[in-house]
Symmetry: D2
Amino acid sequence: MVKVAIVGASGYTGVELLRLLHAHPSVEITCVTSRQNAGEDIAAVFPSLQGAITQVCDAVDVELVCAKADFVFTALPHQTAMAVVPSFLQAGKRVVDLSADYRLRDVAVYEQWYQAHTSPELLAEAVYGLPEINREQIVTARLVANPGCYPTSVALALKPLLEKNLVDTSTLVADAKSGTSGAGRSAKLGSLFCEVNEGFKAYGVANHRHTPEIEQTLSQVAGAPIRLTFTPHLLPINRGILSTCYGQLQAALSAADLHQLYRDTYAAEPFVRVLPDGVYPNVAYVRGSNFCDLNLAVDARTGRVIVMAAIDNLVKGAAGQALQNMNLMLGFEEGLGLGQLPLFP
Amino acid sequence: MVKVAIVGASGYTGVELLRLLHAHPSVEITCVTSRQNAGEDIAAVFPSLQGAITQVCDAVDVELVCAKADFVFTALPHQTAMAVVPSFLQAGKRVVDLSADYRLRDVAVYEQWYQAHTSPELLAEAVYGLPEINREQIVTARLVANPGCYPTSVALALKPLLEKNLVDTSTLVADAKSGTSGAGRSAKLGSLFCEVNEGFKAYGVANHRHTPEIEQTLSQVAGAPIRLTFTPHLLPINRGILSTCYGQLQAALSAADLHQLYRDTYAAEPFVRVLPDGVYPNVAYVRGSNFCDLNLAVDARTGRVIVMAAIDNLVKGAAGQALQNMNLMLGFEEGLGLGQLPLFP
Amino acid sequence: MVKVAIVGASGYTGVELLRLLHAHPSVEITCVTSRQNAGEDIAAVFPSLQGAITQVCDAVDVELVCAKADFVFTALPHQTAMAVVPSFLQAGKRVVDLSADYRLRDVAVYEQWYQAHTSPELLAEAVYGLPEINREQIVTARLVANPGCYPTSVALALKPLLEKNLVDTSTLVADAKSGTSGAGRSAKLGSLFCEVNEGFKAYGVANHRHTPEIEQTLSQVAGAPIRLTFTPHLLPINRGILSTCYGQLQAALSAADLHQLYRDTYAAEPFVRVLPDGVYPNVAYVRGSNFCDLNLAVDARTGRVIVMAAIDNLVKGAAGQALQNMNLMLGFEEGLGLGQLPLFP
Amino acid sequence: MVKVAIVGASGYTGVELLRLLHAHPSVEITCVTSRQNAGEDIAAVFPSLQGAITQVCDAVDVELVCAKADFVFTALPHQTAMAVVPSFLQAGKRVVDLSADYRLRDVAVYEQWYQAHTSPELLAEAVYGLPEINREQIVTARLVANPGCYPTSVALALKPLLEKNLVDTSTLVADAKSGTSGAGRSAKLGSLFCEVNEGFKAYGVANHRHTPEIEQTLSQVAGAPIRLTFTPHLLPINRGILSTCYGQLQAALSAADLHQLYRDTYAAEPFVRVLPDGVYPNVAYVRGSNFCDLNLAVDARTGRVIVMAAIDNLVKGAAGQALQNMNLMLGFEEGLGLGQLPLFP
């Protein structure tokens, strides 16, 4: 049994990590931390855990965490994460960091979209933890930067097209919609039930911080620099991201051709489902699971391809992918503890 | 008092017409019809109307309707509408038809996307009832084809850009999201609460019937044929459409320039609100009202403009716009009976 | 035109007062105040008001309010309300106070459930503003204490039974469920979308502050002291209260008898709808309106009557009833400005 | 590996059985049937199952099912279930029937609330499958009648009080609220998204068919005949039941006393969680799990106890409890395959 710590357990990503790790046969949760809930039973913070998880929240104390655990998940806000991650590494722990702090390889890009970086020396070493793209590097990584939710969905949607150079990369648009758990568990006016429910709007238009992360991954896949327009929207649901991606095809390809390409590309992937022809991804069909569902259509009238990707933002978009990365790093079967089927309805 | 009939009153558009007409000071609802609820009190069909509207549903009988009313709203499915609209006109009634049957001017296009047309001779006469574009023709029309919900939002979103020839019209994408009332009130598996709630998906990708209608209006505005990619999605809310529209700018225009253009274009329009800088349209802020809220952003990195439009699909996208058209046709003040503010939250 | 002020306009009750007063033909909104949004356009606080209401929020300054307005609505939290209401009265203004501060006639009861009262001398004068019970006193009142949302629904549900002494008053239970707007617009963890959505729970069980208010009204109606068990629950919807009330019948009465009693009792009431036999109140059918919908069933097996009442907590449960009270106080037709039909769906 | 069949797999209970059985280490799903989807892949019926469950739906053919499986779950409507259950038993299969057909021991009561019974001879043998009450009999049963969702919640809520004779049984009221999946997956007007969403109402008031089932269980527990008033309501959520139960205490007991009684009663139960003092059951905290969460309050002012029970209607209220019963019948550990934590948020 590997002893794992969740640093920053009182957010939605934290509770989802707890839910998933509880179902994992080869790990034991030996430490959970929370600044604001230190001293409280984590099951008092999240009554869903009553009777199953009995950890008391520690303060965020690196020595304590290192004494209690062998493997560390940091589920902290950006900037807070990089204040502790280097210490865990120095103490010999392997880390999956769920913040944005180690996702961008170019410190200048990071500092343009976020703020000053306090451990830029780790950026070259950190592996961007999208197994469908970087599986081999993840296996041996000390530090895995767990991808953002939107970037995961857009990268998996566009990878097959970009690898084969099938779209004009100057025409890419990703129109993405996320459930409200993506906004976190802090008490903000804009996240109140009555502000979100029965509403729908875009936010962060043309300036959302996931843009450079998406572009970094797409550029890696395409082997050339890519810029796209990315527009996130807030959905009045708890969980789920649907990204609808557009690009101009370089040649007159049929939907059948592209469908086959997608099936081939992801044939060996345990968590990517290319849906049957005509069945479009729905966030309701991946809820609670680590699946990314994909499908596409060709608008022959305009020569455009439309690719849709659905994930659960808390699972494949956060905690599930973190667990998948941990499995790879520790030599477990990649899907261990992630076999739960989606909860529908 | 003008006597009005609602033919096909038992759908969501029907009940919304009843709600709005009830608040109109110069009309009297003298006839409501419903095939499936004939003989029932309309307030039994919609208990929200209890104590306020006491009409009994008639069967759809043209003579009866003509005897009871001077002005007719047809809120029937396409194909069913064109079975009765010509008779109303022959009887000397003026009609606002909320179906798709008279929206497309080219019968070949109609028949390609729908089915054979039984009164193509009326297509040249019918006026497409988007007051912000065709106000003058509406005033004198016998037959107004009330626009579809999606087309209303996309047309108002893109009109200023197209009139000024500011975007490359080969790059237009409209990613639209609609509340579930747009799917109508028929008992279908896909419209069940548990199938829609906490879900989100695209549908009709690259083949939705509103595509040619959108293109017809945009082409009229631009003065040149336009094709776009239009992707509708189903939102787990009752009411509201948000359309996010993308296009490549022909020149390096700032958001401030474009914002001013939008304000100028719609300065005199009573139902179009160009929101202040940075406040993005939210369907929650137009609920129950006839407003179309607009705003935009420029993605300077890619040279793209993103325009967002929010309407209530049952009001500006259907019944409210129908009432606005009636006001124009009858010489009433355009906003009469449409002054209710949005219901928030 | 009467000049009215809304003191405390930045909550959900405030915006609802604005919506309703905007539709009132004989009043003009001349002052809105908000501590936290002073200096801001109220339409920036609530974009739903864009283009329609242009007031800038004042700080809560009694002299300023008195200079600007003739009639005052106070939509402040309890304790904050009683800090300003006496001053408005001294300045000769008539006031509808939407807080709990003047609802309880017995200062000891108030101080047991809330905190010390700073103007207990006004309690004898204040009129409890439930028109269906106290219409005559409201007409001449200087200060109307606008009822709470739950108490309105329970009082209207039980009034006919208690007036006729038909139930054993020791057996009364009110199981009530409220939409989340009832929790206000402050940024609290428990009001976040993801905490409320897809959830349902009771709160304030056996100790909610509306209990003594409900009991005061029921006791007045029954002419004898009444205690009941009141259990509120939080519904994952924006608006609406449904109260399901139980009591043991004193005699073997039929549902038909009781239904007739309810219709007779409320025959002249413009805002109480006793629904047809078998149609049960649904919050969806009163949304946005000032209606209270009622119906009942008799459980002959146990000798119990079950009465259900549905209101929109922001309208008949707050702002709409406040407007109804204002109409009575100012000699307007009681329903003026309240004629909007419910928004369904 | 035990081979199991799900007869009637195309409803919400069916898909939930598939989800749970898929996670069970000692069973294999070898047969799924569906009248309306015969010949279709079950993953086409429920895309959530894509890539994980590959069964094709058979027609409901008893011989075929018997040839394919050793253990049978019947998830059919009442009346349809009893058309096939006897045949499965005759073929030597053990059956968990999720319909109402074998829940009531008295055929006269069944026929009063449902319709004629075609295999009344099985009623004496069938065991009512509520493990917290009938665990021993379940172990050896051939036919287990899986309890209804509402009855499960009410029985677990009231058992401790009734066993100890602490409440006046003539005063029991159960006010229950269920998510919409409880209404099934058939395409009915009343189950449409726009009819349910943002709505809330009671239904089946004083005549719901779960009443005699609840009374049978409570009477068994109390050792005396019990009648109660039961009022179900429809919640605009997918999953979950909260039952709020009221009774007059026979003596002045404190909440602390009763809380201790509940903890003692359920100390050994793996799926009943008596929540800490002051934490009230919330359907969001049991979602997707087999837990029943309980808590209570005492209204000292009226001498009444209020007990709240939350379950997921599709899990502890249907498929999860069926699996729990199967585990008992087959000698597996009772919680096998049911260890998934609730999905929050």
